[in-house]
C-alpha cells in the first residue's frame, strides 16, 4: 500500500511537469521512481526498438498503462507479468510468429523464428526442461532490444561470436553437456574472424554456419554444403572428387577434416604434398595413389611459385636500376591469379586440373621474366649508349684542352 501512495504522489508531480509529454504510460512513470531491478526495465526501455515502434510495456506484459493504481497489474484483468525461462519463446512469438501483426511494423520481417527455434538444440532442450540453454532474451537482450543492424546489438554480425561465447566458452557453465568450450578461442584465430573484424560483414560468424534461431551444427555429411555457400568452386570440385565418396564412407566431416571447423586459418602451399606440414599424409602413405597425386599437385604449385619468384626478382632488379616495368608487373598479376585458381583446383584431388593452371601461370611468369630480362638488356644498352656519348665528350674535352695548350704555347 505504501508503494502505491508514493506512486500516486509522484504521478501527480510528473503530470505537472510533463504537460506536453506523450500519452502517459504509468508502467514507466511508476517503475522509474523505484529502485534497483524494478527501475532498470523502465530506464532501459527508452532505447528499445519496440519502444521506437510505439509499443509500451503493456503490449508485451499486458495490464493497463493508463491505470495509476496497482490494479494496472491485475492478473484477472490480463496482466501477464514476467515470463519464466521456458515460457519466453511463446511470450515473444505471440507477436513475432503472427505474420499479420508483424506486417504492420515491418512487412519483410520473418515470422518463423519460433518454429526454427523449436528445431534447434536450444529449443529442444528447453522443451525438455533445461533452463540453462539460450532462449530469446539471452541473445537479443531484454527491455533494450536493438535491431540486428545496430552495431551495439549483441546479434550484430561482428558481435554474434562473443554473444554465443557467453555460455559456450564458460567451461563451468557448460559442464555436463559434453561439448568443447574452446570454439570461440579457436574462431578468433581464424581468417573469418579477422576478416569480420576488419569490417567485411560478409565473413561468417557462428550463426552463418550453425544457423541463428534453428542453431544446429551441420551434420558430418553437410559440412561441405555449408562451406560451399560461399566457397562454391571448392565445394563443387570436392563433390566430384574421389574424396567425396571416401569421406562419406569413413564418416569424415568434409572440409573440416583438413581445414578444421572453428580455427580456420589461411592454408599454405605446404599443406599439399608429402612434406612435414602436409595434411595429405594424415591418411595417405607412400605408394598409394593419393600420395602420388598429392606429390604431383605439390610439384605443380612449387613450380609455379618458383617461376613467380624468379620473375619478381628480375623485375625488382630492373626497377631498382631505373627501368619502368609496370607493364610487366601487371602481366605478372595474371600469375597470381593462376596461383589462386590452382590452389582452388587442389580440391579436385587430381593432377590434371592443378597442372593446367600451374602450367598457364608458369607461362605468364615466363613472359614477365622475359620482359624483365629485356628491361635489363635495355638498361645495359642505355649504359653502352652513355659510354659512347662519354667517349665523344672525353674526345671533345681532350681536343679542347690540347687546342688551348697549342694555341697558348705559340704566344
Amino acid at each position: 500500500m505504501k508503494n502505491s501512495t508514493t506512486c500516486i504522489a509522484l504521478i501527480l508531480f510528473s503530470l505537472q511537469a510533463a504537460s506536453a509529454a506523450p500519452p502517459k504510460d504509468t508502467c514507466i512513470t511508476c517503475h522509474s521512481a523505484l529502485e534497483g531491478d524494478l527501475a532498470k526495465p523502465a530506464k532501459l526501455f527508452e532505447g528499445d526498438v519496440h519502444h521506437q515502434a510505439g509499443l509500451s510495456c503493456a503490449d508485451c506484459h499486458g495490464g493497463n498503462p493508463n491505470d495509476e493504481s496497482m490494479d494496472a497489474m491485475s492478473r484477472a484483468k490480463g496482466f501477464r507479468g514476467a515470463p519464466k525461462k521456458n515460457q519466453t519463446p511463446d511470450f515473444c512469438a505471440r507477436c513475432h510468429a503472427d505474420a499479420a501483426y508483424m506486417h504492420r511494423f515491418d512487412p519483410k520481417m520473418r515470422v518463423d523464428q519460433l518454429s526454427q527455434y523449436l528445431t534447434s538444440v536450444h529449443g529442444k532442450r528447453l522443451k525438455q526442461g533445461d533452463t540453462k540453454v539460450a532462449a530469446c532474451v539471452d541473445c537479443h537482450g531484454v527491455h533494450n532490444i536493438l535491431p540486428v543492424s545496430d552495431t551495439r546489438s549483441p546479434v550484430f554480425p561482428a558481435n554474434v561470436a562473443s554473444t554465443c561465447a557467453h555460455c559456450h566458452s564458460d567451461a563451468a557453465y557448460m559442464k555436463g553437456y559434453g561439448i568443447p568450450t574452446n570454439q570461440f578461442a579457436l574462431y578468433e584465430k581464424s581468417v573469418h574472424a579477422q576478416t569480420l573484424a576488419s569490417g567485411d560483414t560478409s565473413a561468417p560468424t557462428c550463426s552463418t554456419c550453425h544457423g541463428n534461431h534453428g542453431a544446429t551444427p551441420p551434420g558430418v555429411n553437410s559440412v561441405a554444403n555449408v562451406c560451399g555457400t560461399c566457397h562454391v568452386m571448392n565445394e563443387q570440385l570436392f563433390e566430384k572428387s574421389p574424396h567425396q565418396a571416401a569421406f562419406a564412407k569413413m564418416g569424415l566431416p568434409g572440409c573440416v577434416q583438413c581445414h578444421s571447423n572453428h580455427e580456420i586459418v589461411r592454408p599454405t602451399d605446404a599443406w599439399v604434398g608429402s612434406g612435414p606440414q602436409s595434411v595429405c599424409v594424415t591418411c595417405h602413405t607412400p605408394g598409394d595413389k593419393g600420395y602420388t597425386v598429392a606429390q604431383a599437385m605439390s610439384a605443380g604449385l612449387a613450380n609455379l611459385n618458383s617461376s613467380l619468384a624468379r620473375a619478381e626478382k628480375v623485375l625488382s632488379v630492373a626497377e631498382r636500376d631505373g627501368m619502368d616495368v609496370s607493364g610487366a608487373k601487371v602481366e605478372l598479376a595474371g600469375t597470381n591469379e593462376a596461383l589462386v585458381k590452382a590452389r582452388v583446383n587442389v580440391h579436385a584431388f587430381e593432377e590434371a586440373s592443378v597442372r593446367e593452371l600451374t602450367d598457364s601461370g608458369v607461362e605468364i611468369a615466363g613472359k614477365s621474366y622475359q620482359a624483365g630480362v629485356a628491361a635489363l638488356r635495355e638498361r645495359d644498352s642505355r649504359r653502352k649508349g652513355l659510354g659512347i656519348a662519354l667517349i665523344a665528350i672525353v674526345l671533345a674535352i681532350g681536343g679542347l684542352y690540347l687546342k688551348i695548350r697549342q694555341m697558348e704555347s705559340r704566344e
Binding site: 555457400t229 560461399c230 562454391v232 601487371v330 665523344a392 674526345l395 704566344e411
Partner: protein, 153 residues
C-alpha cells in the same frame, strides 16, 4: 714577347692537324650523340595515347552474344560483356570484395566472382554475395572494326 711566327702561313703543322682533328671529331661525335636521341624523340611512337584512358578491347564480331572477355585496361583487368541483344557493356574486372578477377556467366546472365560467389548484374551492381560495391563501369563505343572502351574519370 714578340716572336716571329716560325711557320709560314698557309701550311698546317702536323701536330696542329691532329689536334684539330681530335677536336673536330670530338665535337661532331658529341653533337651527334645529342642530336640523334632528340631526333628519335620527336617522332611520335606508334601508340599515340597512353592506354590508361582508352583501349581497344576487341574487334567487332569477335565476341558472340551472351559472352564475355577479360582484357587489360591500364594496369588492371577489365571485362567486356556482349549481351543477348548484341549490345556491349564494360566494367572493371576487379571484384570489390577481395579483388579477385570476375568472369561472365552465360548461364546466369550475370557477372560472377569465383572466389566467394559474388554476383553482379549487367549494370555492374552488386546483387548477391559478399561484394560491398558495384563494379566500376566504363563506356563502350564502336569505332569501325574496333570495340573501344573508355574511362571517364
Amino acid at each position: 714577347m714578340e716572336t716571329a711566327d716560325p711557320t709560314p702561313r698557309g701550311t698546317v703543322q702536323p701536330g696542329r692537324r691532329w689536334v684539330n682533328l681530335l677536336l673536330g671529331s670530338g665535337v661532331v661525335a658529341s653533337i651527334i650523340s645529342f642530336i640523334y636521341p632528340a631526333m628519335r624523340y620527336i617522332i611520335p611512337p606508334p601508340v599515340t595515347e597512353s592506354s590508361s584512358r582508352f583501349v581497344v578491347a576487341a574487334k567487332v564480331g569477335e565476341l558472340k552474344n551472351n559472352s564475355g572477355k577479360i582484357f587489360k585496361f591500364g594496369s588492371r583487368p577489365a571485362i567486356l560483356v556482349r549481351l543477348v541483344d548484341g549490345s556491349y557493356r564494360a566494367f572493371s574486372a576487379v571484384c570489390t570484395h577481395l579483388s579477385c578477377t570476375v568472369q561472365y556467366r552465360s548461364d546466369l546472365h550475370e557477372i560472377w566472382c569465383a572466389c566467394h560467389n559474388g554476383l553482379y548484374d549487367l549494370e555492374g551492381r552488386n546483387v548477391s554475395g559478399p561484394p560491398p560495391r558495384p563494379l566500376e563501369s566504363y563506356e563502350v563505343h564502336i569505332q569501325g572494326e574496333d570495340v573501344v572502351v573508355t574511362r571517364t574519370t
